[in-house]
Symmetry: C2
Subunit: 188 residues, 2 copies
Amino acid sequence: MREHTDTRDRIQEIALKLFTEQGYEATSLREIAEELGVTKAALYYHFKTKEDIVASLAEDQQAAMERLIEWAREQPRTREVRHEFLRRYADNLYSGRNHAFLRFMERNQTALRTHPKVEKMRRLVAALMEVFGEEGDTTAQRLRRSMAIFSLHAGLFLLNEEKIDDAERKALALELARELMDAGSGPG
Amino acid sequence: MREHTDTRDRIQEIALKLFTEQGYEATSLREIAEELGVTKAALYYHFKTKEDIVASLAEDQQAAMERLIEWAREQPRTREVRHEFLRRYADNLYSGRNHAFLRFMERNQTALRTHPKVEKMRRLVAALMEVFGEEGDTTAQRLRRSMAIFSLHAGLFLLNEEKIDDAERKALALELARELMDAGSGPG
DNA sequence: GTCTATACGTCGATAGAC
DNA sequence: GTCTATCGACGTATAGAC
């Protein structure tokens, strides 16, 4: 599909790290190149533009989220399915670069507001929040379902001072997400 | 205390709007000046630097939050006090520029990470989340108290598609915040 | 694939006239 | 208080050698 060099992967890794730590606009291609040990021009061999680096990062995560939404739509509307849905999303989040990418998105919402792939990701997150929504739901229920997804995102960084490992963090965030999801759904 | 011209106030208003909509770094002083109908140089008469505009916006909100934390520390640790605390914070948030400023902070976390007044504000938000913490609290409880504050911040923009007014939005966010705060506190 | 060199724009900020 | 004019630094991006 695409040529897959080590350098390309390292650019993604370093870019995501610096974008998250310092901000998207505040991070120049010069900085990325420096940390990588090459010049700016080398980056342009692997990526057409700065935005293109973000696009490449969004692509993997997008596929995973689309698959999860597709899965959820085919399932019966039961409490067990909703819990399994949250578990799958948490597994996805807490593995690989996925959580790092979502944190980057959340911390740089405005800077990335016109980025097509980021807009797509925002719509997918919104879809996650609504996939178990039904006709007669109240606004109070919608709020709780949204906050269920949100608590998974927030879990990792809200508890960063605690002396616990990621597995426990994930379990705690997931437990709260289930409570909120149950409170935001009808019976059954 | 300080000379208080109309222009100074309009600069704050327009800057906060553009910073929130477009991002802090993505908004140039030229844009602010243009929307105001003056030149960049005029801005520099009212504010020493770009960061100084942010600092001025933080100051009002900081005072209100410090007062609220001070108040909470003097109260007995009861359920009624915690609910009153949330109500006061929500009143503060949903009035004036306070909520707009916090949204701006959340959406531009990384770009503002080294800004002294913004760091101070982050510490104050953390203090709000911990002000009802006690010695033997579990991590699960801490997470719920944090999410209680967070749900007040999130309430306004998570429900932006709903056809309800701000008063109802506030009431719904407050109700969820109470649930989370109760779940994150000991009995009494 | 990576380099040097550079084009070209915009940024924040300042000097000095009015 | 606001202007014109300008500075130096840095940004993204490209051309062309190796």
